[in-house]
Amino acid sequence: MTTESLAIEVEDVTKTYSNGVRAVEGVSFTVRSGTVFGLLGPNGAGKSTIIKILTTLTRPGSGTVRVAGVDVVKEPVLARRVIGCVAQQGGGDPSATSRESLTLQGRLYGLGGRRLRTQVDLLLERFGLGECADRPIRTFSGGMRRRLDVALGLVHEPHVLFLDEPTTGLDPETRTELWAEIFGMAAVGITVVLSTHYLEEVEELADTLAILDRGRIVAMGTPSQLKSEAGGDALRVELVEPPGESKVRKALACVEGVGDIMVAGCGLSARVQRGAVSAPYLVAALESAGVHVVSLTLSAPTIGDVYRQHAGRTLRSVQEAPSR
C-alpha cells in the first residue's frame, strides 16, 4: 500500500483537555482513499475529539495526523482546503437561506462566479432543497437541516468528508437517504470518516471500522473480519428429547471448533467456528450418538457482539439503531 492511497494517517495521537480529561489516548489508524471509515463507540469515547483533531478545530497533545497527505498540525490552512466537515451540532445559520449559506461557504473556499452558482444549484437539487432554497433555515425540519449540513460540507468538493454522528435524531427514512448519499460519495472517490453510536450504521456503511472506548481503539478491521474474530457463529439446535449433557459433550468433542456448549431442556446452544461448514458434521455426530435433531439455526455474530467483547461494558450506552 503506497502513501498516496492513504487519505488519513493518524499516529499515536493523544489529547488531554486542560481540565484533565484524557479524551484520546494513543490512537493510531489509517484510512484508504475512497473508503468509508467508521468510528464506533459510546458517548464520551473520544469520537468527536478525534474528528475535531482531524479537522483542525483542535490540536492533538502529541502524535501526528496527516489528511490527504497534509500534516494538519503543521499546515492547518492547507488541510482545511481538502476536508469537509459535518459537525454533530450542524452549523446552519438560522436567519440565512440554504442558498445563501451554500454560497457563503463556497466563497470562504475562494470559489465564485458561475462555477459556484452552478455548484450551489446542483447541491440544492441533489439534497432535495431546491424548492426551499430561499427560505430561512429556521423554518426547516431536522431532516432538511441535516441535508443542508451535508451539502455545506461538499461545496468545495473535499477529498475527505467527516461526518460526526450524522444521523442522530433523524427519522428512519431520512437516515436511509443519507446512507445512500454516503455510499455515493465513496463511489466517486471521496473518503468518508463517520462517527456514530449506531451499530447498524457502521455495519451498513463502513469498509473499515474502529471501536473506541474511553479514548482508545479497542478493535479495528473490516466488519466481517471483526465478526469472524468474535469467536464464531451462534448455533442453536432443537432436539427431540432432553439429552444427557455428557453424551452431547462427548459427541461434539470430535467436531472441530465448537465451544461454549450449553444444554437446557430440548435446546442446545454453542459457538461454532465457520458454522456453515461445521453444521453437517455436527448433526452427523449428534445423530450417531443417538441424539436426534429437530432443527438447527446458525446466526453470524453482530457488531454488537464484537463491541460487547472488546469494550467490555454493556451496550446500554450504545444504542441499536431504530429499525427502518
Binding site: 479537522t55 483542525t56 478545530l57 438560522p94 440565512a96 445563501e100 466563497r107
Partner: protein, 260 residues
C-alpha cells in the same frame, strides 16, 4: 491578504444580513438612542441650561447630542459578544473555523458589522439633534473625524466583548460585564455634564477614560473653533486601544480553539 479581504467582506455581509432580518432589533437600535436624547435632554435641561459649558452650545439637548452618539456606540458594542456566543452554541463558529477563512477576518467581519450598525445609529441621532437645533459649526471634517473616532471606539469595545464571549462562552457573563462597565464609563465622562461641573476626582478619571476622549472629539464638532491637536491626540489614543483590543480578541479565539 487579498483573499482575507474578500473573506472579511463576505463575513460582514452575512452578519449585516442577519442583523437586518431582525426588524425588532433594527427598530429598537434606532429608537433607543432617540429616546435617550429626548428624555435625558428634557430631564436635565432645567438643571443644566444655565451652566457655562452647556449654555455655550445653545441648549442642553444640543450639548447632549455628541454624548448620546458616544453612549450608543459603547452600549451597542459592549453587547456584541452575545451574538458570538449564540453562534457558538449553534455550531456556526465551528463550521467557519474548519473552512480556510482567516481567523482575523472571522472576527473583523463581526466588528465591521457592529461598526456599520453604530454608524447608522449615529447618523440617526445626529439628524435628530439637528432637528432639535444642533448646528455643527466645526464643519464636516471634524464631524467625519468624530465618526471615525466612534468607529475606533466601537471596534475596541466590540473586540473586548467578543473576546469575553470566546473565553467565557456565556451570554450572562458578557451581558453582566457589559452592563457593569458601560454606565460607570458613561458617568465618568462628559457625556451628560461639562467638565467644569464634575467633581475634581471624576474629572481626573475622565482624562484617562477612552469614552471621554470620544466625547471630547464629538464636542468639538458643535463648537466654533476646532482644536485639531486635541482631536489628533485623542484619536491616536483610541486607535491604539482599538488595535490592542482587536489583537486580544484574536488571542481569545485561540484560547477558544484550545478548548473546543
Amino acid at each position: 491578504m487579498r483573499e482575507g479581504a474578500a473573506q472579511l467582506y463576505h463575513m460582514t455581509v452575512r452578519d449585516l444580513r442577519s442583523t437586518l432580518r431582525q426588524p425588532t432589533y433594527v427598530v429598537a437600535a434606532l429608537v433607543q438612542p432617540m429616546l435617550w436624547l429626548l428624555l435625558f435632554g428634557q430631564l436635565f435641561t432645567p438643571l443644566m441650561e444655565t451652566t457655562p459649558g452647556t449654555a455655550a452650545t445653545g441648549s442642553y439637548t444640543v450639548f447632549l447630542t455628541p454624548g448620546v452618539v458616544a453612549l450608543t456606540a459603547v452600549f451597542a458594542s459592549g453587547w456584541s459578544g452575545v451574538v458570538l456566543v449564540t453562534e457558538m452554541e449553534q455550531g456556526l463558529l465551528n463550521r467557519f473555523l474548519v473552512t480556510p477563512v482567516r481567523r482575523w477576518a472571522l472576527i473583523a467581519g463581526r466588528l465591521a458589522q457592529q461598526a456599520i450598525v453604530v454608524l447608522a445609529q449615529a447618523v440617526f441621532v445626529l439628524l435628530i439633534g439637528v432637528s432639535c437645533g444642533a448646528r455643527f459649526h466645526g464643519g464636516i471634517l471634524i464631524l467625519l473625524a468624530f465618526l471615525a473616532a466612534m468607529t475606533l471606539c466601537t471596534i475596541a469595545f466590540a473586540s473586548l466583548s467578543n473576546a469575553l464571549g470566546l473565553i467565557t462562552r456565556s451570554h450572562q457573563t458578557v451581558v453582566a460585564i457589559a452592563q457593569f462597565m458601560v454606565l460607570p464609563l458613561a458617568f465618568l465622562s462628559e457625556i451628560f455634564v461639562p467638565r467644569e461641573e464634575m467633581p475634581a476626582w471624576m474629572s481626573a478619571v475622565a482624562t484617562v477614560n477612552p469614552v471621554n476622549w470620544l466625547v471630547e472629539i464629538g464636542r468639538q464638532s458643535i463648537s466654533e473653533d476646532v482644536e485639531w491637536d486635541d482631536v489628533l491626540g485623542r484619536g491616536c489614543g483610541l486607535l491604539a486601544i482599538a488595535l490592542a483590543s482587536f489583537w486580544l480578541s484574536t488571542l481569545a479565539l485561540r484560547v477558544y480553539q484550545r478548548q473546543v
